[in-house]
Amino acid sequence: MNALVNEFIIKLKKRKIEGSKTTAKLTAEVLRSCISQQRLPQTNQADALIDAIRGIGEKLIAANPVELAVGNIVRRVLNIIREEDVSLTAAAVGGLGISAGSDDEDDVKPDDHQGLSAAAVAAAARNTLRPPSLQTLLEDIPQSTAVPRTSSSGGDSEGKSKSADKNSTSKKLKHNVIEAVNELIQDIATCHEQIAEQAVEHIHHNEVILTLGNSRTVMEFLCAAKEKKRSFRVFVAEGAPRYQGHALAKELVARGLQTTVITDSAVFAIISRVNMVVVGAHTVMANGGVIAPVGMNMVALAAQRHAVPFVVLAGTHKLCPLYPHNPEVLLNELKSPAELLDFGEFSDCLDFGSSSGSPLLHVVNPAFDYVPPNLVSLFITDTGGHNASFMYRLIADYYSADDIVVKQKSIS
């Protein structure tokens, strides 16, 4: 297990894994194998597992603090463990409830209880933990009061049932968690399709769409609209200095889309002709702010100036429960100046030997921009479109408040 984790950590440290989707997927896979190999004690299994995952997660996050997707997935997995634990105890106690006295509640049938999906129970458990979210209120969840009440009612018979089910629950927790993590991996893998499905609702005939740089999600989104026989034009800002926009343009043309490549600096000039800006993101913060490839803030400001909708596409694995002012959030990474300037050509400007020993030329090449939430018109995630001010609620659905700080408890 350690070897696997270490290898992943080294890869993260050396910045060998690029893109939040790949990172998220690999993180989830590493954590899955950790969970399956983790030995669990007889009691307090969930806590032990959570602590173990926290320990690993802490190291993974430290390995590449810029890639927030790692932390997101670690927190998601921690939340999964919590939910599965709650649902298991709920199921166990619920089972008890049937035998102890189903007469308590006439409106709830025993089958309902047993047929309750883990997710639903988890959602119910969530409701008890924090104020109800808009989404959970809208979702029709059968018995939100089931959990606390049963736990109080089945007091005397609890010990008996636990000893009987011990072995099965221990396996079951692990099994369920792994199942849920698999689902998460599946979700990450299919987030493009989920987002792309909504394309037709947003892109209309004869529209002009502007995008910056290259995002797989954006590409799939545009192509999905094209496949649905929408005819529209795309402007691609090339995204200096990495020029990933060139690759996007190539791909779009291959799929038969009318594409125009412009320089980043021409965005403002062209924005008045644009109907909608669709871009990808590196991370979406809890306040609805977006960390995106450099140049995005300028595009967002231009869009706001001309009242053009600024739409950000982001899979749920990009939702980060942290706020941009949190000290552990590293908003940016400075890349090599070689992407901007040719070292050979400028070697005489980088002269350290003469005069004061410090050259007059500095080159700064940041990788990301921060786009404040008020500039974003709409977020489109796997689950649908959301307003920036709604992000914190969405994030609360995926993360437990206890996991915001991923740190292993003292190993006493």
Binding site: K13, K14, A338, D342, F352, S354, G357
Partner: protein, 732 residues
């Protein structure tokens, strides 16, 4: 990836390559010993590859790069302090990497890169193409393209044994000196095939001209001579390279012996090619100056991802803040202290009140007192700097203590565990070590492989060194006179030989003094005056102020007048050389003719230029009185009469010579003005100038202004005499 590209073309050969690639893992040899003494005295106690470069040992950079470039098997050749290298690799977990095996090869008697490669050959560990680098290489280049090119060439021609990685750098001598402190490198490369045809890395010794074998020009349709390339010392070699070293047991240095040897040797027909990298970074730490420059390049992130805030291997995390300031999270910094841009502060370091640090690297667990000024320094780990010290452009090794009020002048190197006494000022460029300076000092760089120098590098093992050290301390500590580093100080200041002292500034971390920069500029100007300086073309030094660093703007201003002035200088230089090296007249004529063609000059100009050169030569010879000067002229003219005569086929040229002489007397060589008539007469006697020329000159001058007629008047009698003589002849 390489193989995939080839394979997709569906060529049989490409598939072979794919198989071959699959069979043998990519191997690399790291020479963890530079076989030089440039980092003395530090390298007496610790091998160069373990010296910290921005708080991580140099070898970590090399290994991390090789690993990320896809190398699977690395052989680290350790020689000096081999135990320390092995211990380090063991401790830092390099041996336990997945898909990246590191093996050490130890030797105690190898004294050069050649010996190392011969030893590796004997071990039969290299099975295919391999990367040869030294353990002080910092790079982030991707090897795949270079490897692919190398393999393709190999398939076509099995004699293509090596691919050298080069990088463009500005050709300005100032940049070259101030960046890496290396000498000028000349390479002749076939622009089509990228084959290396000529390599000369001691450009400064060439005295400004370069001689190429004429076979180069006849054998190749086109060649390009380049002096703006930097050798990265990254070589992709075929296994034959090792056997070549074994066959030629006298090969020592990779470049001076091996590369030059292969280029000269045309029997075997081995070929070396070059691969130029553009966007990625590659450089080698050869001396303190390049240590300084590469540190700064790392801090400015040219080597990304090998930068301090990325934990590429085992280095502790630092956080990048505004203006290139890197600080570890757990430092103790006083509120009143100031940390300037492009500074790295390692973890566990504490900084006192009102201390200012700029452009420096501070290692781990250092304690820096109050009111300290640190500027452009490299402070390694566990260093104690007490209150009020001043450090400028120095290297301070592990465990050094600087007592309060001590100061370092630029270019100082303090080796391990030295103690600098209270209020002691260490003079510029001095090197302080706990070790006594070895008595037999190699001042000559050529002899750096000779056994006496390396004997010291390799002999003392760590424990042995320490024993030696303790002994020294025990015996000499009571006698405080033995140490020259102030009250309570411990350490010896190494003496530098007279000649060395002059050169110290070249390779130190201190900025180059302004007067040296000016000197470099002037040297380069002089070089430009010589015929072989390729393309570099500068106006005469009179127009270029000594302060101007760039000369690009002046190049545009060239005009015909400049051309003729430069032509004269070149002719003069050619003539000077002819005098010094005793070249025959024929050869001088040949050279002057070629110059004449290249500058598009008339033969009259040649005559004038050559004549003035001759006269200058005579003037340069020692003389006390006009009489002696005249004698000088007589003897010089006698010697070079034939040469002068060659360029004086008609009266026009002769008139030109007289005019030239006149000009000289007025301007550059006033000593001649009283001798004008005498010399003119002498020239007439020697049949160098005929009477018609003199008469024509006199009649030409008749209409001129009074000031121009000084010499005509002076020689009035002579002209009169000439006229009479000719009339007499006519009468006959």
């Amino acid at each position: 990836m390489v193989a995939k590209k080839g394979g997709s073309k569906g060529m049989g050969a490409a598939e072979d390559a794919e198989e071959e690639l699959a069979r043998t893992p990519l191997q690399a040899i790291i020479l963890a010993d530079s076989f030089t003494t440039k980092f003395r005295p530090i390298t007496l106690e610790r091998p160069k590859v373990l010296l910290p470069l921005v708080n991580a040992p140099m070898i970590d950079y090399t290994l991390a790069w090789l690993e990320s470039a896809g190398v699977e098997e690395v052989f680290v050749f350790c020689c000096a302090h081999s135990k320390q290298v092995i211990d380090y690799l063991d401790k830092s977990n390099w041996f336990g990497q997945p898909n990246f095996s590191v093996t050490t090869i130890e030797s105690h008697n190898a004294i050069s890169a050649g010996d190392a490669l011969r030893l590796i050959y004997e071990q039969h560990v290299i099975r295919g193409d391999f990367i040869l680098v030294s353990g002080d290489t910092v790079s982030n280049m991707s090897l795949s393209q270079a490897l692919k090119e190398h393999k393709e060439r190999r398939r076509k021609d099995s004699n293509a044994v090596m691919t050298m990685v080069i990088k463009q750098s500005k050709a300005s001598p100032v940049t070259r000196q101030s960046r890496l402190g290396t000498e000028e490198l000349f390479m002749v490369i076939d622009p089509e095939t990228k084959q290396l045809l000529y390599y000369e890395d001691r450009g400064d010794n060439l005295k400004g001209y370069l001689s190429l074998d004429k076979a180069l020009l006849t054998d190749n349709t086109s060649i390009s001579l380049q002096n703006d390339k930097q050798d990265c010392y990254i070589d992709i070699c075929s296994p034959e390279v090792l056997s070549l070293f074994t066959d030629n047991f006298d090969y020592q240095h990779l470049r001076r012996d091996f590369v030059k040897g292969l280029l000269v040797d045309d029997i075997m027909g081995y070929k070396i090619y070059t691969h130029e990298i553009h966007s990625s970074y590659a450089a080698r730490i050869d001396n303190y100056r390049s240590y300084h420059t590469i540190s700064k390049d790392i801090i400015q992130r040219w080597t990304y991802p090998l930068v301090p805030d990325v934990q590429f291997f085992g280095n502790s995390a630092t956080k990048l803040e505004r203006q290139g300031m890197y600080r570890a999270p757990d430092i103790k910094q006083s509120r009143s202290s100031k940390i300037g841009p492009f500074t790295v502060i390692g973890s566990g370091t504490s900084i006192g009140n009102n201390t200012e640090i700029s452009n420096s690297v501070v290692g781990e667990c250092c304690s820096i007192g109050s009111n300290v000024t640190i500027e452009g320094c490299y402070i390694w780990h566990n260093v104690t700097i007490e209150d009020g010290c001043k450090l400028k452009h120095s290297i301070v090794c592990d465990g050094v203590t600087m007592k309060s009020g001590a100061a370092l002048e630029p270019g100082v190197v303090l080796s391990f565990k030295v103690v600098i006494g209270r209020n002691f000022l260490v003079p510029a460029y001095s090197k302080v070590s706990l070790h006594q300076q070895p008595i037999r000092q190699d001042s000559d760089e050529e002899l750096e492989y000779a056994d006496n120098s390396s004997g010291i590098t390799e002999s003392p093992s760590v424990s042995g060194t320490l024993d030696l050290l303790n002994e020294e301390e025990r015996t000499e500590l009571p006698d405080s006179q033995a140490y020259e580093v102030g009250d309570g100080g411990v350490g010896f200041i190494w003496l530098v030989s007279e000649a060395g002292q002059e050169e110290e500034w070249r390779h130190s971390v201190a900025p180059i003094p302004v007067d040296k920069l000016v000197a470099i500029m002037q040297i380069s100007n002089d070089e430009a005056d010589l015929p072989n300086e390729d393309g570099a073309f500068l106006p005469p030094s009179g127009e270029l102020g000594p302060d101007s660093i760039t000369n690009d703007s002046n190049e545009d201003a060239e005009d015909i007048r400049d051309d003729s002035v430069i032509f004269e200088r070149e002719v003069e230089a050619t003539f000077q050389r002819a005098v010094e090296e005793d070249v025959t007249d024929d050869h001088v004529i040949l050279e002057v003719n070629s110059l004449r063609l290249s500058y598009n000059m008339a033969s009259a100009d040649c005559a004038g230029a050559l004549f003035s050169s001759v006269m200058k030569l005579a003037l340069d010879a020692p003389h006390d009185s006009p009489n002696e000067l005249y004698k000088n002229v007589v003897s010089t003219v006698r010697k070079w009469k034939k040469l002068l005569k060659y360029y004086l086929p008609s009266i026009d040229e002769e008139i030109e010579v007289i005019l030239k002489f006149e000009e000289m007397c007025l301007e550059s060589a006033r000593e001649y003005s009283p001798l004008f008539v005498q010399i003119l007469h002498h020239l007439y006697d020697q049949d160098i100038i005929q009477e018609e020329a003199i008469l024509d000159w006199a009649s030409e001058k008749e209409g001129a202004e009074e000031s121009d007629k000084v010499f005509v008047k002076q020689s009035e009698k002579f002209i009169q005499w000439l006229k009479e003589a000719s009339e007499e002849e006519d009468e006959d």
